[in-house]
């Protein structure tokens, strides 16, 4: 089928970081849209952001206010946002109050007033806030047909005058089927705000958008001093081209563990290090990132339980210098403070850091901390979002090592309490064992998707050089993974075990 002569729909920027991508590139020019949501959901702020992003003195924005928030107060509050450009006021952005017309006259008079202003200013963007008020007032003595006719004439006028329009209104979802305005509109942007336990969760949905493919589903957003910021469910990764897997193996910085892994972690793998508290997961993760820096792989460490400075200082106690690479922008330690974070927002922060320094290695320490940092309402989405991020990042060759704390059990051998083993390629399990009246530590490589790996159960210690694997595999015990092994050759003549590491440690 020929595509010659097909109309090209220009896309306008929304001025909202992340929203253009959700919309499929931006706002379709000359479209007739509705911004709907409950009071306080951010409708007016969104409309202002769009207005200030697009208005010029040649193609100004007309902002009709009707009986909603008084215009003076709206100006008072909106100018607090950084997008509010006073220089555009009354030149590129013009506010017109239609309350009197709506109160005293009928829909024809409202249309006449809007027509007069539109023909006078030839605006590029028109906002009616709140359009719901116009409709409510009209419904008193207006038939549904008359109302539909008004909306259609309004849409026709504004489209003919080449304006991209936004009708702002406090609608509820049940109205979508019966309200004619939803039928006529080209775009329907719905903003939600819900309190979940102690947190506020904001989400938006592009319910409808004619002419282009938007990203379906609910996307979280935040309102800051800069206005709205949206976080796409696809994390901006939808268009990423997957990298052909390389044969490169990445050293973890523990030579004996590299051997157990068949030469190191395959580049682009997702590794899970699971173990109880104090088994050395974080130390092992730090060694992995430090070894990467040493080999020229920039890295990101995402921490939730301690601040970057503390993390770097703890690393130095194991002889690992993270301060220099941080200074040289080869390493970023992200401390994602435990606030009401959304999963997607957190993922975006990680992805931004990955892109910024071209990270090849990423450590998430720990998944439990990650989950705790999220607002309760977002925890249900945790696994799904994590899966999307890990899949996308490993797809472009980033190697991810996540730590997860598991409850030590002496009756089972769990890998993760999150049931997320499915999204990891490799699993390293650390655990305590009770041997000869001592609580010692063992590690085993449980799974490697990319190939063969050692089946050995090795004992290790955490020394001043980090995690150090000692000696060969433990052959004298049965039931090591239960945590309470039995000595196979106990004759009463056993030697007291030395704590000197037998394995050669990393210099």
């Amino acid at each position: 089928m020929s595509t010659t002569g097909k109309v090209k729909i220009n896309k306008l920027p929304t001025g909202v970081p992340g929203l253009d991508e959700i919309l499929g590139g931006g706002l379709p020019e000359f479209s007739f849209n509705i911004i709907a949501g409950a009071p306080g959901s951010g409708k007016t702020t969104l409309a202002h952001q769009i207005v200030f992003a697009n208005a010029t003195p040649e193609r100004p924005a007309l902002y009709f206010t009707i009986l909603g928030e008084p215009a003076i107060k709206m100006l008072r509050y909106q100018q607090q946002y950084t997008f509010f450009d006073q220089a555009k006021l009354n030149t590129a952005v013009r506010f017109i109050n239609l309350s009197q017309v709506v109160l005293e006259k009928d829909l024809d008079a409202v249309l006449e007033e809007i027509t007069k202003e539109v023909e006078k200013a030839s605006p590029g963007v028109v906002v009616v806030d709140s359009f719901r008020t116009v409709v409510r007032k009209a419904q008193g003595g207006t038939t549904e047909v008359e109302l539909q006719s008004f909306i259609q004439r309004l849409a026709l006028l504004l489209t003919s005058w080449q304006a991209t329009t936004f009708l702002v209104g406090e609608y509820v979802e049940g109205e979508i089927r019966d309200n004619p305005v939803f039928t006529v509109s080209d775009g329907l942007f719905w903003l939600y705000q819900a309190a979940e336990r102690s947190s506020i969760v904001r989400k938006l949905q592009i319910v409808k958008l004619r002419g282009q493919a938007s990203v379906p589903g609910l996307h979280t957003f935040r309102i800051t001093h800069a206005g709205l910021q949206a976080f796409s469910r696809t994390l901006g990764l939808a268009g990423l081209v997957r990298k052909i897997p390389s044969a490169r193996r990445l050293s973890i910085g523990i030579p004996e563990l590299d051997k157990m892994l068949g030469g190191g972690i395959p580049e682009g793998d997702s590794v899970l290090v699971a173990g109880a508290s104090g088994t050395g997961k974080s130390v092992l993760a730090t060694q992995f990132i430090a070894e990467g820096i040493r080999q020229g792989d920039p890295g990101i460490v995402v921490v939730f339980e301690e601040r970057p400075q503390e993390y770097a200082e703890r690393a130095s106690s194991f002889g690992l210098d993270l301060k220099t690479p941080r200074h040289e922008k080869k390493l970023e330690i992200l401390y994602l403070r435990p606030l009401d974070l959304s999963v997607d927002e957190t993922m975006h922060e990680i992805l931004d850091a990955v892109h910024k320094i071209g990270a090849k290695r990423l450590v998430i320490d720990s998944l439990a901390g990650f989950e705790m940092a999220l607002a309760p309402g977002f925890r249900a989405d945790f696994r799904e979002s994590l899966y999307r991020m890990i899949t996308a990042l490993t797809g472009v060759g980033v190697t991810i090592l996540s730590t997860v704390e598991v409850n030590e059990s002496f009756t089972e051998f769990p890998f993760s309490t999150y049931s997320i083993s499915f999204l990891t390629d490799d699993i390293i399990r650390l655990r305590y064992v009770c041997i000869d009246g001592q609580l010692r530590k063992i590690m085993v490589v449980i799974k490697m998707r990319g190939g063969n790996h050692s089946k050995d159960i090795r004992e290790y210690e955490i020394t001043s050089k980090g995690v150090v694997i000692m000696g060969d595999r433990l052959t004298d015990y049965q039931g090591l993974i239960t945590g309470i092994p039995e000595h196979l050759n106990r004759s009463g003549n056993h030697e007291e075990r030395s704590h000197k590491p037998k394995a050669k440690t990393k210099s």
């Binding site: 215009a71 003076i72 100018q79 006073q86 309350s99």
Partner: protein
């Protein structure tokens, strides 16, 4: 700023309708953009508040000065006909200063200056906002 607006309109008034006071012309000019922005009801509320504040500052301000339903000021002509022209001018300035003070309080200096500048494009107002107007 109020004084500057009055000065502008006093000069402009010499070439126009002699019965209109400078204060009347200032209000007439401010009324248009403020009604566009805030609606008649919004402007009327602001002006009523400004009048109350002005009366507290200048108790002699004539009781005849009232805010009409359409947001215009009634009784300003009587103010202009007062025997003491200096007093009349001061009372007019106080009323304008109170209205500008309210605008500064609600929408800030930047936005207020833009609104005023649009009506008096030839005037320079930067740095002309008095402390009294800021505190109004």
């Amino acid at each position: 700023m109020a004084q500057r607006l009055l000065d502008y309109e006093a000069v402009a008034g010499k070439n126009s309708e002699p019965t209109e006071s400078a204060a009347f012309r200032v209000f007439a000019k401010l009324r248009r953009p403020l009604i566009t922005l805030a609606g008649v009801a919004g402007f009327r509320s602001l002006l009523s508040r400004a009048l109350t504040l002005a009366r507290a500052e200048a108790p002699s301000l004539s009781a005849a000065v009232q805010v009409a339903a359409d947001g215009s000021l009634k009784g300003l002509d009587e103010l202009a006909l007062q025997a003491d022209k200096e007093q009349a001018r001061n009372e007019g300035a106080i009323l304008i200063a109170q209205l500008i003070g309210l605008l500064l309080t609600f929408i800030g200096e930047g936005v207020t200056l833009r609104l005023v500048q649009d009506e008096w494009p030839e005037a320079a107002f930067n740095g002309r906002v008095s402390e009294k107007e800021r505190k109004a």
